[in-house]
């Protein structure tokens, strides 16, 4: 599919001539290189055989079928190893829980697995799975929920039956619920122990406040939750027609479809709204993220050797057509590891941080975030922030260099094959494409869309989606250590680090 050798040759010729051109003209920009290294010259002579592979497609390597009970099933046979893997995606999420019950969705996701089922105690469930070396986990996140299973293919029948039971009839055993609540209570108690945890929690809260993306878990929200609360949450969303299921591994398609239909048979006896059967699922209205920037400088004081720094603002929603240009722009800014500007300057050049990066989320249904972060000793806090801000401004001021664009483009193109080396991962991508109503040829057109991103496009999205004046800046650190006053960046609001209200 990808004529890598001719593409590389073309790009190499282009890049080499671009270098020569810039050498002949001026040496004004620090980005320009006066010459190629001996290695670059040698590597330019390498020949690459064409890599033969294609993006798996529904209808060819991947099968899709709607079952009688309404479940959508994706299948991919793989006979290399005697394994069986399954993944269910359910339309649910913490976006549907009221703020007073923050944590209900997540707890439901966890206790589905730990709380046994209608026909198995928690202990029996654990024993049956672990005895055969199978793994089963379940979760509910902010915008979806699900479960996954992995076992040897010889144990497919047993594991499939357990998996179905967990999805359809979880027991939400009271003792297991209490145990999970205790674990979370302890986690809340410990939430200020690590600077990174404080930084991420408080930063999300600054941008999202009481929207589910930024809510902070408090004990009072979960302490009174009962098995009934969890059952009710589960029964509302876990209906066969609200689930996309994927199976990959060592099976025969016709056979496994029969087994799955049998395992997920609708309940014969059920009350309206309850039980496992095709039924309409109603979704409560979920809050919207309040659009806009929330600029400000925030400080959380803690006696640590490093300052933990994060700066950012709201970005875009899932499906934004600028997503490819944004990805490339972010790669150059701070997402492309050592090839990126922030990492190159703050870590490689000045040695101020071990970890410094930027990210631009394009996958959240409501506004995702742009943010950049680093950790640096107290005495270089101001300098590191200054350098990061400079980079955010600079990428909006002028076109990125041609070689920067080439690096990003080639990286995306050449590593794309790695998205498709694992069947269950292939299915998961396709399932989320359906779940999020993305174009069916999303995976096939991905690279062409990346190729379309030009330097002008990068500049356009940098100007449109990065707003230095709108940044929320949060620092967790020890103020007396700082090299220069933090309020150079704006009036400081101190966020007191309170003891969690637990006992």
């Amino acid at each position: 599919m990808h004529k890598r050798s001719s593409l590389t040759k073309a790009l190499t010729i282009f890049v080499v001539s671009a270098f020569l051109l810039s050498a002949l003209t001026s040496r004004a920009l620090a980005q320009e290189r006066p010459g190629l290294s001996p290695a670059a010259k040698k590597i330019a002579t390498f020949e690459y055989e064409e890599l033969k592979w294609k993006v798996p497609e529904v209808g060819e390597e991947v099968k899709r079928k709607v079952l009688r009970n309404g479940m959508i099933l994706y299948l991919m046979e793989s006979h290399e190893l005697p394994t069986f893997e399954m993944r269910a995606i359910v339309r649910t999420g913490s976006i549907y829980e009221p703020v007073e019950q923050t944590g209900l969705a997540s707890l439901t996701g966890t206790v589905m697995r730990t709380g046994g089922t209608r026909s198995m105690t928690p202990d029996e469930l654990n024993r049956r799975l672990e005895y055969v070396g199978a793994r089963l986990s379940s979760w509910v996140g902010s915008e979806s929920g699900g479960a996954s299973l992995s076992c040897l293919s010889k144990d497919t029948d047993e594991a499939l039956q357990i998996f179905a039971d967990v999805l359809m009839h979880p027991g939400f055993n009271e003792e297991q619920l209490e145990l999970e609540k205790e674990k979370r209570k302890e986690a809340i108690r410990r939430r200020n122990d690590r600077p990174g945890s404080i930084l991420n929690r408080e930063f999300n809260h600054l941008l999202y406040a009481d929207h589910p993306y930024g809510r902070i878990q408090e004990w009072e929200q979960i302490k009174d939750l009962t098995p009934e609360d969890l059952k009710r949450f589960h029964q509302r969303y876990f209906k066969p027609n609200n689930i996309i299921l994927g199976v990959a591994g060592d099976f025969r398609t016709k056979q496994i479809i029969k087994k799955i239909e049998k395992a997920f048979l609708p309940d014969k006896i059920w009350q309206a709204g309850k039980g496992w059967k095709q039924a309409k699922v109603t979704f409560p209205s979920s809050p919207e993220v309040t659009k806009g920037y929330r600029p400000g400088v925030y400080l959380i004081e803690k006696e640590i050797t490093q300052s933990n720094v994060r700066m950012g603002h709201l970005g875009v929603k899932l499906g934004n057509p600028d997503e490819y240009a944004i990805r490339v722009m972010n790669f150059i800014l701070g997402g492309g590891s050592f090839t990126s500007r922030m990492t190159s300057k703050v870590r490689s050049d000045e040695g101020l941080a071990y970890s410094v990066r930027s990210s631009f989320d394009t996958e959240s249904k409501d506004y995702g975030m742009f943010s950049a972060s680093c950790q640096t000793k107290g005495g270089s806090t101001h300098r590191a922030i200054e350098l990061m801000l400079q980079e955010i401004k600079r990428i909006r001021e002028g076109l990125v260099a041609e070689e920067e664009l080439q690096t990003a483009r080639e990286a995306y193109i050449n590593k794309y094959v790695f998205n498709f080396t694992d069947p269950i991962s292939v299915l998961t991508q396709l399932m989320y494409i359906e779940y999020n109503d993305r174009p069916k040829d999303y995976l096939q057109t991905y690279l062409d869309n990346v190729r379309k991103v030009t330097r002008e496009e990068v500049l356009r999205v940098a100007r449109k989606y990065l707003e230095p004046g709108g940044l929320t800046l949060l620092v967790v650190g020890d103020l007396p250590k700082f090299d220069k006053p933090l309020d150079d960046f704006g009036g400081i609001t101190v966020i007191p680090l309170e003891e969690p209200r637990i006992d």
Binding site: Y131, L152, A209
Partner: protein, 513 residues
């Protein structure tokens, strides 16, 4: 008739067992090749996707250091990304004298620093700041010749993923996964950085390592505890100090020290390359011969001399930190290759793997702790069997310790159940098969066994040993090692942070916008 039947059954069982064993050997069709300079090449084909994972392992780690230069192996690993005579510079001829100037200035700087280490030091060294400035100026000049991070960029442009390196106690490894048509690129870049590395941009990278220390250790409850735990458990052997090194040592390491360290340990005869994926072994060997072959072999590096003397009494350490209590417990145990090691691994699994484990059922489900984990190492030298735990308030670390010791004592007196051992065997099999899905995972595993035991085949031997552990083995091994005179315990206790004297007037408390 019954006798014939029995014979047939026996034969059938034999056939199944043999073919199972045969199948295992067949599945790991590793091509094993030595270059003349002693470098080991291991190749495993897997053609499901057109990708390859590369794992380059050097048999050197923090265990090869000594006080004064702790952290040098890890710093060397960082420096290996800074380029060579061919990578990372467009004119090494012009760059080299600048690097020499920086070196001689740094040498003077260290001599000044050494004065400040003298216990009777009284004076003032303005010379230190002057030297720092001079070094910074020459570094600025050097930048004109540097092509920053070219190695990293080259790999990324060519589709490299999982690109990184890591240093441990026992070994240092460099790894990357690439599309299958870039094997020559890998061979060229890796052989070049073994043959001609240039440790440019050294001083900024040393600062990066300082930041890494702060990030992973100084500001982390588990990081800090673990460092003090090992320092107490090992009084003589190099496992005593952290891989990242003591802060005071890192500060004094110069570029020439790292070069010397590199020359001693990064010899081809001390190197293993593992290539797993969509490859043609003959072609890989040909490329390795061409690129790595010309690198001359060296004197084998010196061995580690110091052995840890037997511990003759419990050691207890307390670390005060602004975090909730945690505890780490360790017992001295043999390293990888010893016949007791697999037994310890089985013990660790039965104690803490997943929800049917003993720690989970008897400590976590009883709400004494949120998690308790046991771990048995496979190491170059005798190491620690460890148990770590996070208590659940109101239970103390002492209570959790007691509960852990109850479980360990049980192992010495009550044989474990058949069910538990069968579970272990089934999990072992499932994990092994699952593991074959990952090229990088397989490369790592093969490289690790080759480095530590001298034979990649030990992967299969080890698996057999693990599966053959009996209840009697567990009784014996638990009695032998899990005793209080062999034990080190490190506990983190909460340090009350000084009353919040805010230097900036708080404008609001939550909700704060």
């Amino acid at each position: 008739m019954r006798k014939v039947f029995e014979i047939l059954i026996a034969f059938g069982i034999l056939l199944v067992m043999t073919s199972a064993l045969f199948a295992e050997e067949m599945r790991l069709n590793v091509v094993d090749h030595d270059l003349r300079n002693g470098m080991k090449i291991l190749i495993l084909e897997r053609h499901t996707s057109p990708v390859v994972s590369f794992y380059l392992r050097f048999k050197v780690g923090s265990v090869d250091e000594h006080p004064g230069i702790t952290g040098i192996a890890h710093l060397c690993e960082h420096m290996m990304f800074k380029g060579t005579k061919n990578v990372g510079t467009w004119d090494y001829g012009a760059e080299a004298p600048l690097l020499d100037t920086i070196d001689s200035l740094a040498h003077q700087w260290r001599r000044e620093m050494e004065c400040t280490k003298h216990p009777l030091y009284r004076g003032d060294t303005p010379r230190l700041e002057e030297l720092r400035q001079e070094i910074a100026e020459v570094q600025q000049e050097e930048k004109d010749y540097v092509i920053k991070d070219e190695l990293w960029e080259t790999y990324m442009k060519n589709g490299g993923v999982q690109l990184n390196a890591s240093t441990g106690n026992d070994g240092t490894q460099y790894y990357v996964s690439l599309p299958a048509n870039t094997i020559e690129l890998w061979a060229y870049l890796e052989s070049d950085r073994i043959a001609n590395p240039i440790f440019r941009e050294f001083y900024s990278e040393r600062d990066v390592v300082n930041e890494e220390r702060r990030l992973r250790t100084d500001d982390q409850p588990w990081g800090k505890l673990w460092e003090e735990f090992y320092a107490a458990a090992f009084t003589a052997h190099p496992y005593s100090w952290p891989v990242i090194g003591w802060a005071a040592d890192i500060q004094m390491i110069l570029r020439e020290d790292v070069e010397r360290f590199f020359r001693t340990y990064y010899a081809p005869n001390n190197t293993i390359a593992v290539i797993v994926g969509d490859v043609n072994p003959e072609r890989v060997i040909d490329l390795c011969e061409r690129y790595f072959g010309p690198i001359p072999a060296q004197e084998p590096p010196p061995p580690v001399i110091t052995e840890e003397p037997p511990q003759t009494g419990e050691r207890r350490v307390t670390v005060q930190f602004d975090a909730e209590p945690i505890v780490a417990i360790g017992y001295h145990v043999p390293g990888g290759g010893d016949p007791d090691q697999p037994v310890l691994e089985v013990i660790a699994s039965l104690l803490s793997r997943a929800k049917t484990s003993r720690f989970y059922k008897n400590i976590v489900e009883k709400k004494l702790a949120t998690s308790v984990n046991a771990y048995a190492p496979f190491s170059r030298y005798p190491e620690l069997f460890t148990v770590t735990a996070t208590p659940l308030k109101p239970h103390s670390t002492q209570e959790v310790e007691e509960a852990i010791y109850v479980e360990l004592e049980k192992l010495k007196t009550e044989p474990v159940s058949e069910w538990e051992l069968e579970k272990f065997a089934n999990q072992l099999e499932a994990d092994f098969i699952r593991g074959m899905k990952s090229n990088m995972g397989m490369a790592w595993r093969l490289g690790n066994y080759q480095a530590l035991v001298g034979d990649w085949r030990h992967l299969l031997v080890h698996k057999r040993e693990l599966g053959a552990v009996t209840p009697q083995d567990i009784l014996r091994v638990a009695k032998r090692y899990l005793n209080d005179d062999n034990r080190t315990v490190a506990t983190l206790v909460k340090k009350e942070s000084k009353k919040n004297t805010t230097r900036v007037k708080p404008e609001s408390s939550r909700p704060y916008y």
